[in-house]
């Protein structure tokens, strides 16, 4: 068994929101005990609806937030406990691509400066040995990789379209040759024809650099296209984890079933033949403390047990786990 590159153990990320001086602060349970592993060269997809904690999870992993509890083990060392240069040294291997290429690029820097900034920072801190010429050569090389013309080096982000801006964001993330990239909805703000270009680019780069990805998206078809394994998140917990194709073909958790049945397929004949599972109500607020299965109030299969006991993620088939009382350990057929 190969050691996982990243191992997240019981990660909890709570935020306190103050309600005023005399009130007891409320707690938003954004991530509520997540375990996951990413193996070298593999891509893990993370799907779920807005507010389920996907982005928070990625930000906690890379330590943009300080996790409330739990461990983030990157090649064995715990990121959650690191500080200063040690943290920077680990982060050299974990980089992030953000959803919105408008707000994640500094409008006052040229794209050349944006892409070289991570290199500059590491050189300045003495964590990387490169001279000026080498840095410039590296930046131009990165621009080639992501399909940006050298002529555009001195342009500013506003002169580019959304797709090209996302290429800049990807080049910046690649600058330090990381082993793991956290991509938070990298194609969601793009038009269909541009989305396909960026997805193909990510696939090519992944092959060349042999990187691992955590790929967050709300678009199930995109995730199934690009990921090896997919984890489904609901209200801060992972309810199902399975190989991408298996999950799309036969989701097991009632929430995954509803999610996959709701995703439209661009084929009128197939659409007419499909039966949708329409969930009642909205996603509950992550503020209240919840008992039992987090999904029980919207679940079409709920049992009395679901309201009091929280199901744990357990393996039902090799490589597939579900957190639901409908399934017994080692069995992927509901009882």
């Amino acid at each position: 068994m190969v050691e996982p590159l990243l191992k997240v153990v019981d990660l909890v990320q709570h935020f306190r929101i103050s309600q005023g001086f005399f009130r007891v602060p409320k707690i938003v349970r954004a991530v509520d005990g997540v375990n996951l592993e990413i193996h070298p060269g593999k891509t893990l997809g993370l799907v779920g609806e807005s507010g389920c904690g996907k982005s928070t999870l990625a930000r906690s992993i890379i330590r943009l937030y300080r996790p409330t509890s739990g461990k983030v083990l990157f090649q064995g060392s715990d990121l959650a406990q690191q500080e200063g240069d040690a943290l920077l040294r680990t982060r050299q291997n974990i980089q992030m691509v953000f959803q919105d290429p408008h707000s994640s690029l500094n409008p006052r820097m040229t794209i050349f400066e944006i892409i070289r900034e991570p290199l500059d920072i590491y050189v300045r801190r003495g964590l990387l040995k490169m001279n000026r010429g080498q840095i410039e050569k590296r930046v131009l090389e990165l621009m080639d990789h992501v399909g940006l013309s050298h002529r555009w080096s001195n342009r500013y982000p506003h002169e580019f379209s959304g797709g090209q801006r996302q290429r800049v964001g990807i080049a910046r993330a690649l600058a330090l040759s990381p082993k793991l990239i956290l991509a938070d909805e990298p194609v969601s703000s793009l038009d269909v024809s541009i989305q396909a270009q960026i997805l193909n680019l990510i696939k090519t780069i992944r092959r060349e650099y042999q990187q691992s990805y955590l790929f967050i998206s709300h678009d199930l078809a995109v995730v199934q296209h690009i990921c090896d394994t997919v984890a489904v998140m609901y209200l801060g917990v992972i309810v199902e984890k399975a190989p991408a194709r298996e999950l799309a073909r036969r989701p097991l958790h009632p929430y995954s079933q509803a999610l996959y049945s709701a995703a439209p397929i661009p084929d009128p004949i197939k659409e007419r033949a499909r039966r949708r599972i329409i969930l009642q109500g909205d996603v509950p607020s992550p503020v209240s403390e919840r008992v039992g299965c987090y999904f029980h109030d919207r679940c079409p299969h709920r049992m009395p047990r679901c309201q009091v006991e929280k199901p744990q993620l357990q393996e039902v088939e090799p490589g597939r786990s579900v957190a639901c009382f409908l399934y017994d350990k080692g069995k992927s057929e509901p009882r």
Binding site: V192, A196, N200, A221, I265, P268, E271, I278, D282
Partner: protein, 330 residues
């Protein structure tokens, strides 16, 4: 169900804007018909003119920025272009109503939900306050919002995105309009909520025999809900046909590219996605001839010279030189 009666006919509609960079041809020579009970999908990428087209139909664009608005919009035979403001008021919100992408910006944050619904009912149906109030609670219930009496007294910010869109639908359908224009009604929503809202639109419009124009960039949504589809590129309709025709036998290279570039849940992930090179053109500086020609893999010399004529094949229309003289060269 769809009948043959035409309720809306758009003929050669053009809407140009005047900007500092020059004239923007947002909608250029667009024609289509909408039949009674039909759901027409208008697909295209951002900037293709979908929204401007529909704002033009309702004449919601300020005349100060619109340079040239040519063509006709015939609603039940009456030309919307020749109506004055008060005649338009009789149609807008009453016979033709609209729902927008972002329900937060289209609801008044200072007004209770029931007051906003009552406004429409009092204005268009001449109901008194008491009846209008009863009717609005009924409408809120009808669109599937639980506790309608309590919810009616609340403000938009107390509603979730999906619930706000339900309020918008209630408002749009309160006068049983002939036509509902839905501009990206589910784009801001999650998939499970999207499924709920599309279901609601489908059910209610069928019940009221309302025709729908659905503007979207999501081909999956179109496949699930529409009868006919118009594909827009750079301000023009490049292909038009029934949903089955468009998806099983797309003729325009842009439509073909669009369909192939969407990853599919039921597809395999081994292949590289098809992608259309380049990006959509700027509407200020459109390429000569066919606007898609610089990105088209099948471009011929003539494509850069003249805009292709519309090739009609039964109910399927396509603007592309490939199909000129009926030759099957696609």
């Amino acid at each position: 169900m769809m009948t043959d009666e035409i309720i809306l006919e758009v003929k050669n509609l053009s809407t140009y804007f005047h900007t500092e960079q020059g004239q923007v041809k947002a909608v250029d020579h667009v024609s289509f018909v909408l039949r009674d009970g039909e759901t027409l999908g208008i697909v295209g990428e951002s900037g293709s003119g979908k929204t401007v087209l529909n704002l033009s139909i309702l004449r919601l664009l300020p005349s100060s920025v619109t340079v040239h608005a040519g063509g006709q919009i015939l609603y039940r035979g009456r030309d919307m272009m020749s109506l004055n403001e008060s005649e338009l008021q009789q149609i807008r919100g009453n016979k033709i109503s609209m729902i927008f992408q972002d329900p937060m910006t289209s609801l008044n944050p200072y007004m209770k939900v029931c007051d906003q619904l009552m406004e429409t009912l009092i204005l268009h149906q001449g109901l008194d306050k008491k009846t209008a109030k009863e009717k609005s609670v009924e409408l809120i219930k009808h669109v599937g919002i639980p506790d309608p009496k309590i919810r009616a007294e609340q403000y938009p910010h107390q509603f979730s995105g999906g619930m706000r869109q339900r309020v918008m639908i209630a408002m749009a359908l309160s006068c049983k309009p002939d036509i509902l224009i839905a501009d990206e009604p589910t784009t801001a929503l999650d998939v499970t909520i999207q499924a709920q809202i599309l279901d609601l639109i489908r059910e209610l419009t069928r019940e009221m025999k309302t025709s729908v124009i659905l503007i979207t960039h999501d081909l999956g949504v179109v496949a699930g809900i529409c009868d006919t589809v118009a594909v827009m590129y750079a301000g023009r309709i490049v292909e038009y046909g029934t949903v089955d025709e468009i998806f099983s036998n797309p003729r325009h290279p842009y439509t073909q590219g669009l369909i192939q570039s969407v990853p599919r849940l039921d597809g395999s992930s081994d292949h590289e996605l098809f992608s259309i090179p380049g990006s959509p053109p700027s509407l200020v500086n459109l390429p000569a001839g066919c606007h898609f020609q610089p990105r088209c893999s099948k471009a011929m010399p003539i494509c850069a010279e003249k805009y292709p004529p519309e090739i009609v094949n039964g109910n399927h229309r396509c603007c592309c030189w490939l199909w000129h003289r009926g030759e099957d060269r696609g």
